[in-house]
Structure formats: structure tokens, C-alpha cells
Assembly symmetry: C2
Homo-oligomer: 336 residues x 2
DNA sequence: CTGTTAGCGCCTTCAG
DNA sequence: CTGAAGGCGCTAACAG
């Protein structure tokens, strides 16, 4: 592998001249410049980013850590981050945490060790406080994505989870629904907690008793099937609200096992939703995150932070879209 | 940030001793060793991976480039790669190419520049030959995943696309189907080409004329809707085979627009399939890649390659599973 | 406008 | 068993 020394020799100039034509960091006479360029071509020289990063302590790259880039909502955020990074000439390094605090910690550390200029992080469920404390302590440039934490001194980008859940409940209440089954999942995840809060807001708006509502929480997705089935079997709820895609899958499966139809027997709405929403039968009313834009916004915040490290952290909430479809079309069925 | 010099000073030893306790690269007396460890603790020292990589030219990390980690099949491969990498203490750096040769090239280059020990690559549709030639030329340790190319001197891991398509056709032929509509997509992607080849194998096995078959190819997914609708409208095909998930989505949408039911009016089968296959109505007969295992195998091949750089390249084909579901249950409807 | 030189933080011979 | 010293490839003063 050719180095700058080789190029310098081939061009008959000093190594610093080579460096300067490479980086455009000072004027060099067109003829010498041309000789250097030729020498680069001829030697097949390529910059050693590592050595470069070591000197500059800057890499023009950023890291992104999500729990699973395969989940639709995260996939879209990843795309948003990629696009905005590309526009700004930044390289993106991506890592999955699998919702595991240990892996997440390792991923962030690896990224930082590789001198990414900053990290965008959708925290794993149970991981935030200690990890964030560390990151804050070492002054790492971090922006939090999707999973927002109050009173954390970081830039944050998320969706208006609470408000949009409230809107959804209002919509259902207007159709006569008074008793809900909320599949809330792991409420240690702030997103889900916010959605649950929004549910109670909505219930209050509708002047119905919070006591009549069924809420299913639980850390482990795979063990949610049974409680869901049980709650559904009682048959008091006329509307089911799932707070994320995997939770919706669990809910739909339970409904099918019980042979209860949507929307005839029970209304169904979900957050995030499935890919190809038009192919899904019945078409599901969905609250969709502006995931792509969230990714874009995260990159912007990160860059602004790097430029002005000492301004105070900002939190951005983007509006979620309530997409009404068949699954909530019917009015509340009368219950036995 | 504390460096080895700080640690050495704090421990009252030389910097080389520090290096050696850090890497366990030669014996050091327990007492000195202890002092060094204490000093590390106390100074909050952390190794500079960049400087380290620069000296060692090795990073214990690998890169993975796919077109979109958000697509179900790739997501699963990513998981497989992650797991096997974790088991072996390797850090994984992930990148999406968005099926764009330019982005792919950049991604691979970035990874290599960051001195990953090797790269696992699912080539973008149109990108392979020139990129692969370069990679071969610079002797980069690369294993090809999913998208396999004949006569390329790389280790490769894929699925038995041709055979499984043949099996699928045989299954459909046994139910009386003689005229197929194959949504083949971008046949520059080797996977899709192989599946198409397998289709013709199957047709031959069934002793039906290849001329009666309708094949839809095309680079641009979004413009496939119209030809699909046209082909379907003619109504000669009794079975539709989609060669990937997005193609299946296009096919199903067209069927719905025409109000043709599956499997009553037409049988439907797809490769790769959707997440949550049980929730999809109708349940789709699917040929599923062993994507996770492919990821695992790719890491293994890569590591073996690094250990024995000069052995000849191997190609591994993993078996795909034909999952029969409702969408191909009925016998071939008689055509008008 | 160009060249010389001192490190960045680390690993690794080579001496002691 | 430990230390001293060179150099990986590059950038950025500092000189001329």
C-alpha cells in the first residue's frame, strides 16, 4: 500500500505538499499540484483514514444504534438517518442492540472508540439511565431517537406519542366505544409509557371510568399471548389498541384464535403498523410515526450540537399521523 | 483522555510494561501487574483502538453490507451475522447500499478503510462485476452473501434458489396448474435469475410448454404494477409466483384491484414472504430462506478465510423450506 | 509557495 | 523480568 512518502517521492515534492493538495488546506502551484495528482494516480495511493483520524480526531462519520433495524419503524428511521448523513457527506455506522443493555453499551462504546463524531441512539428498554449517565460524563455527542427520557441533558427526537394516543381514543369514543383493551407491552420503554399515558388522557376526555379499562403490560412479548387471550375471552372490551407492531401481531393472533372478527366483533387499532398496510386484512387503523423524518431530524440535531457544543439540549417532537382504516370503521358493538 | 503514558507514570513503570499487561503479551510480575491495573483504574484509561489498529493492522471487527436491513430476509441475515460475530468476539459494522452501486462501493470502501478484518457483502443488483474485480485485486477478505456469482473467486453463501423454485412448480403442477404468471423482477439480481431458471426447470419437469408461461421482469419495482395487472386481467394463469416480498406485494395488490380471490380464483406463492405469516390473509405459501443460518455461515467462512487466506474459495448453498399454506391449497381452477 | 519536523497513541524489537 | 526507542501514516505548526 502506497503511503504519502511514496507519492511525495514520485512527485519530487515534500510530504506536506502532498498532504495539502489532498486536503485543499493551502494553495499549491498548479504545476506542482498536477505532479502530485499524477503521482497519486500512478502509485495508486489511498489515504489511511485511521492515521488521519488519529491526527485530526475527527472522522466525518456518525453512529446509529437501534434495537433492531429490521423492525419497520426503525428501518424507516435508519433510512432517514442514511439520507441526511449522505447529504452531509457523513459515513454512517449502524448497530443493533437487540434491546439488550449489554450489547447496546458495547455498540456505543465501539462506535465511540472508532471515533465517530457523534452517536444517535434509540435506547434499549432497560438501559437508559446508567448508560446515559456515562455518556454525559464523558461528554459524548449523543442524540436520543424515538425513546425519549425526561430531564436528560441530550438532544432528543421523538413522536408525540401521548397526544396521538389521545386522539385515537377520542376517535374510538366518538364511535361509541367505552371499554378498551390496551396492549401496552413493556412500559419501561418510554414510547410505550407515553402511549399509555395518552390512553388515560383520552379516557378522561371521554368521561368514562379508567377502572373499566383493561391494560396488558409485560416485558416479554412472547408471554403476552395468554393474558391477551384471557382478556379478550371475557369480551367486555369493544376496541383493542396495540401499542406497537409486535404487540399488534400478538393481539391479532389471539383474536383469530377466538374467532372474533374485526371490525364486526371488535375494533382494532395499532401504533407503527405493518409494512404493506393495504394488503393486510382487515386494513388496520394505524398511528404512524414520521420515522423517516425523525431520522433526518436526529442527524441535524447532532450536527448542530457538534458545531455548538454548549448550547442547551433541545427536544423535538414530530407529529404522528392517524390513518383511519376499516378496522375501526364500525360503531361499537353492543356487549352482552 | 488518559493515555498509556499517564498510566505508566501513575504506576511507576514503563509504557511497554503497560502495553504488555494490557495485551497479556508477556509475563509481568504479579505485583507490578497489580500496580498497573490499579493505575489503569485510577486514571480511567481506555485503549485507543485507532492507534492500536494502526499498529496491528487488525481490528477484530467485520463489516456487513446489504441493500436494506429493513427487508425481512436481510434483517434475518443480519441477525445471524450478529449472533455469530458476538460469539466470536467480533464487532459488527453494518451498512445499507439501497441497491445503489455507488453507495455500495462507498460503504465497502469505508469499512475497509476502517480496517475491518473482512467484509460480508450482498451485492447490489447491478454492481457486482466491477466492484468484485477491485476487491479481488486488492485481495480484500470478502464473502458474498445471498447474491452469488459464478466464477468469482470469493467465498459465497446462498440458498438453493433454483432447486426450491423447481420444487414449488412441481407442487403446483401436481395440483393441476399448467399456466403460471411469474413475477420475476430484476433478473440482474442473481437470486432472481436463479429462481427464474428453476421455474423453467419445473415447467420442463411438468411437460408443459414454456411458451404458455407469462414472465414479468423489470428493474423498477414501482412500475411493475401495470404489467402485472395486464397479465392478470388476461386471466390465463391459474397460479402466480412472486420471486420476492416486494414483488409479492405488487402481485397481491393487483389481484385485489381486479377483485380476484386467492386461492379460489388463482393460486399464489411467494419467495421470502412477509413477517407474521399467520396474520396474512390468505396465508401465503412461501419459500423461506434459511436467512439466519446464512448469516452465521457467512461469518464462519470469513473467519476461516482469514485464517487460511490461500485455500480455494468455497460456495455454500443452504436448503430453502417450502412452507405450504392456504394460498395454494385449491386445485387449479378451470379457465374460461 | 514549499519543506522540515514534531508528535497523535500504540506495539514491538532490542538491550539490559 | 523490565525499559528505551523506533516507527505505523498522517497533519499542522514553524521556517525559509
Amino acid at each position: 500500500m502506497a503511503t504519502m512518502v511514496d507519492v511525495a517521492r514520485a512527485a519530487g515534492v515534500s510530504i506536506s505538499t502532498v498532504s495539502h493538495v489532498l486536503n485543499g488546506t493551502r494553495n499549491v502551484e498548479p504545476p506542482t499540484r498536477a505532479r502530485v495528482l499524477a503521482a497519486i494516480e500512478q502509485t495508486g495511493y489511498r489515504q489511511d483514514t485511521l492515521a488521519r483520524a488519529m491526527r485530526r480526531s475527527k472522522t466525518d462519520s456518525i453512529g446509529l444504534v437501534v434495537s433492531d433495524a429490521g423492525e419497520p419503524a426503525f428501518a424507516e428511521m435508519v433510512h432517514g438517518v442514511e439520507q441526511e448523513a449522505a447529504v452531509r457527506g457523513l459515513t454512517l455506522l449502524l448497530a443493533n442492540s437487540a434491546e439488550d443493555p449489554e450489547r447496546e453499551r458495547r455498540a456505543v462504546r465501539t462506535l465511540l472508540e472508532r471515533r465517530v463524531d457523534g452517536v444517535i441512539l434509540a435506547c434499549a428498554a432497560d438501559a437508559a439511565p446508567p448508560l446515559l449517565a456515562d455518556l454525559q460524563h464523558e461528554k459524548a455527542p449523543v442524540v436520543l431517537l424515538d425513546r425519549l427520557y425526561r430531564d436528560q441533558p441530550f438532544d432528543q427526537v421523538g413522536a408525540d406519542n401521548r397526544d396521538s394516543m389521545r386522539t385515537l381514543v377520542r376517535h374510538l369514543a366518538a364511535r361509541g366505544h367505552r371499554r378498551f383493551l390496551v396492549i401496552a407491552g413493556d412500559v419501561r420503554v418510554p414510547v410505550l409509557e407515553e402511549r399509555l399515558d395518552g390512553f388515560f388522557d383520552g379516557v378522561r376526555d371521554a368521561h368514562v371510568s379508567a377502572d373499566d379499562q383493561q391494560i396488558i403490560t409485560g416485558v416479554d412479548r412472547s408471554s403476552l399471548g395468554e393474558p391477551i387471550a384471557r382478556a379478550l375471552a371475557q369480551g367486555v372490551a369493544t376496541a383493542v389498541i396495540a401499542c406497537s407492531t409486535p404487540l399488534a401481531a400478538a393481539g391479532l393472533r389471539a383474536l383469530e384464535d377466538l374467532d372474533r372478527k374485526t371490525p364486526a366483533d371488535v375494533a382494532f387499532a395499532t401504533f407503527d403498523g405493518f409494512d404493506y398496510p393495504d394488503l393486510f386484512q382487515p386494513r388496520l387503523t394505524t398511528v404512524r410515526q414520521p420515522a423517516f423524518d425523525m431520522g433526518v431530524a436526529a442527524v441535524r440535531l447532532l450536527m448542530e450540537r457538534l458545531e455548538a457544543p454548549d448550547t442547551s439540549p433541545r427536544t423535538v417532537r414530530l407529529h404522528q399521523d392517524l390513518q383511519l382504516r376499516e378496522s375501526t370503521e364500525a360503531f361499537a358493538p353492543t356487549v352482552a
